[in-house]
């Protein structure tokens, strides 16, 4: 019990910028969150909010240049990842932390058989010989519902959903402690989405893997996660237990996200889109990043950035009005 409650991954004050020409883009701004063993945190937000950047900086695979990690600490099981050498990181990548990418069509090397691509990771992180690795890879394929004789086939011979299964098999082959799933279902057909999601959830439970799930789909969040962090313009603006967040969303942006979700039962006939579009990341507002789109904006919001406030135990929100009556 105490073991499960231990903080397993801790991200503190993560800051990443992208440099293009003379402009600096603040992609991730002082992001902090925690994750317990076996649990799932969902990072929710619009495209370009910085979710993928957060995941990639945990693995330290951000393209540098243009990306640069300015500060922050990432601790996995008490080990500080940011201070590890590149060699030590090689063991973490794919071994302790694995990632599932957004677009299965491009995530696989088109010139290698899917089998070899799974084996590649296995050989890197285990003491397998080639045969053992191949057997394990075939096992993984079966586990994700692909006949093992397709081991020798190339990515072009697979459909999108099948490719994503391969990517999942590849990610889970080395029993990682932490799985970074970057919009794992976005590029797939709706019917396939549910299957893939189920697959990830089952495998995760089976191996007691923790997961960071990146998505913009609140439906996926509801099904899969334990905790939710809402990301806007590189910042976490609301952070809570899933149940708490769904019942009691507090930030106007989170409210807006729920408002733009089609309901099945309610009588509402129109979706409520969030007015405006995300701020230009090269020119973020001085105050609250959401202020220009916020229906409840006040002068204070524009002048200074609101702090993260704990409005109820475990529920944090970055809004002046949080916890007060609107």
């Amino acid at each position: 019990m105490s073991k499960a409650d231990e903080v397993f991954l801790k991200v503190e004050d993560l800051e990443v910028i992208y440099t293009s020409g003379k402009k600096n883009v603040q992609a991730v701004n002082k992001v902090s969150f925690e994750l317990k063993k076996g649990q799932t945190i969902a990072l929710v937000g619009e495209t370009g909010a910085g979710k993928t950047t957060i995941a990639k900086s945990i693995l330290r695979i951000l393209p540098n240049p243009p990306a640069k990690m300015l500060g922050g600490r990432i601790t996995l099981e008490g080990r500080e990842l940011t201070s590890l050498s590149e060699e030590e990181m090689l063991d973490i990548r794919g071994g302790k932390i694995a990632m599932i990418f957004q677009d299965p069509m491009t995530a696989l090397n088109p010139l290698m058989t899917v089998g070899d691509q799974i084996v590649e990771g296995l050989l890197l992180h285990n003491d397998y010989d080639k045969d053992a690795a191949e057997n394990r890879a075939k096992e993984m394929l079966e586990l994700v519902g692909i006949p093992k004789d397709r081991f020798v086939e190339y990515p072009y011979q697979f459909s999108g959903g099948m490719k994503q299964r391969v990517v999942i098999a590849m990610a889970l082959a080395c029993n990682p402690l932490l799985l970074l799933a970057d919009e794992p279902t976005t590029a797939l057909d709706v019917t396939i989405q549910a299957q893939v999601l189920d697959l990830i959830r089952n495998l995760k439970e089976k191996y007691n893997t923790s997961m960071i799930l990146i998505t913009h789909d609140l439906g996926v969040v509801a099904e899969t996660s334990d905790t939710v962090a809402v990301v806007y313009a590189g910042e976490i603006i609301e952070y809570a237990d899933k149940r708490e967040l769904f019942i009691n969303p507090c930030h106007p942006y989170t409210n807006g996200l729920f408002g733009s979700l089609p309901g099945m039962t309610e009588g509402e006939s129109r979706l409520k889109p969030i007015a405006g579009s995300p701020p230009d990341p090269t020119d973020l507002p001085k105050g609250c990043a959401f202020a220009p789109r916020c229906p409840y904006v006040m002068d204070e919001c524009i002048e200074s950035k609101p702090d993260m406030k704990e409005i109820s135990p475990g529920h944090f929100c970055r809004c002046i009005k949080a916890g007060k009556e609107i």
């Binding site: 393209p63 990548r93 694995a98 058989t113 590649e120 990771g121």
Partner: protein, 317 residues
């Protein structure tokens, strides 16, 4: 796959036939009378007429063409040199190894150095190593190869006395010709390799490989290079053709009695059977390298491989 190769080889025969037709026609219409040249300056009109008859030049264009194609492709006889009255094939066999040695070594150098330099530049993109490598490549693309050859003779033979300037003998005679043949191609390849590697640098599957914990080196050579290889292979193929085409000039600068120089001399002395045989050989060699290039595409890319062996794939599906 075998089927594909056979198909391509048949196509090659057609190309060679067509090349023969072209080269024969070009030479047929070349102004000047070979019989007069060969009979010599002192020959009488009657001598020349006699010569024309012996050489078969008094026959019509069609007859001569027929004779040539018949003896070349049916009897596999390249004919006798008009100047030396000896079978062309004998002289070719003596000279072939020299030309082949220079050509193949230059190709190997082209392939290896071009790719290594390109990868070196790409992995140091934007740094001074990149600028330096690409600067050198640009300079070598721009220098005429025969002039580089002359400059090398000046430096290594005349000034430093390290390498022989002319002729053949031991391996040291071939060093400069090989380097000069390869230089331009190396530069082109290096540029192409750099561009294609940078083109796949940000591909998702490269990120996947990184996320797996693969080492930088293996990612570059095992993931990036194969995916970047298609245009590089094309450029290598072009480089091979350039090396073949540059043979006459390079052999002429270094006075290497190979096929290229044989052909040039024969052009000047209007020894057409020799010219035709040499050109055919060069065309054959080019065609073979083009076939190898196409096979290399299939070797690298399973999708192309699948297209070559469609029959087999349908069975398994």
């Amino acid at each position: 796959m075998v089927k594909y190769i056979i198909k391509r080889l048949l196509g090659m025969i057609l190309i060679l036939l067509a090349t023969s037709l072209i080269i024969f026609t070009i030479l047929y219409f070349t102004p000047g009378d070979p019989a007069r040249t060969i009979a010599g300056a002192t020959a009488t009109a009657e001598d020349v007429e006699n010569m024309r008859h012996i050489m078969g030049l008094d026959k019509s264009y069609i007859e001569q063409l027929g004779d040539f194609l018949y003896s070349t492709f049916i009897k596999f006889d390249l004919g006798d040199s008009w100047v030396y009255n000896k079978p062309v094939i004998n002289e070719m066999m003596i000279r072939l190894p020299r030309t082949l040695f220079i050509g193949l070594s230059a190709m190997a150098l082209n392939l290896f150095l071009g790719i290594v330099m390109g990868i070196f530049a790409a992995t140091h993109e934007g740094k001074w190593q990149d600028s330096l490598t690409m600067g050198f490549a640009m300079v070598f693309i721009s220098c005429p190869d025969f002039w580089v050859a002359l400059m090398m003779i000046l430096l290594f033979s005349a000034t430093l006395n390290l390498l022989p300037a002319y002729g053949i003998g031991g391996i040291q005679y071939y060093i400069m010709p090989i380097i000069c043949s390869a230089l331009g191609g190396i530069a082109v390849n290096a540029r192409q390799t750099r561009a294609s590697i940078l083109g796949v640098f940000r591909e998702d599957y490269i990120t996947t490989a990184k996320a797996k914990g693969q080492k930088e080196n293996i990612i570059v050579w095992g993931h990036m290079l194969p995916n970047a290889l298609m245009p590089i292979i094309t450029s290598i193929g072009n480089g091979f053709a350039k090396i073949v085409a540059g043979t006459p000039v390079i052999e002429s600068v270094f006075s290497i009695p190979g096929l290229g120089l044989y052909m040039l001399t024969a052009i000047n002395s209007r020894d057409y059977p020799v010219v035709r045989a040499c050109v055919l050989f060069f065309a054959f060699f080019t065609a073979i390298s083009m076939l190898l290039v196409d096979l290399a595409y299939a070797f690298v890319d399973p999708r192309i491989r699948a297209r070559y062996q469609t029959v087999k794939k349908k069975e398994t599906k």
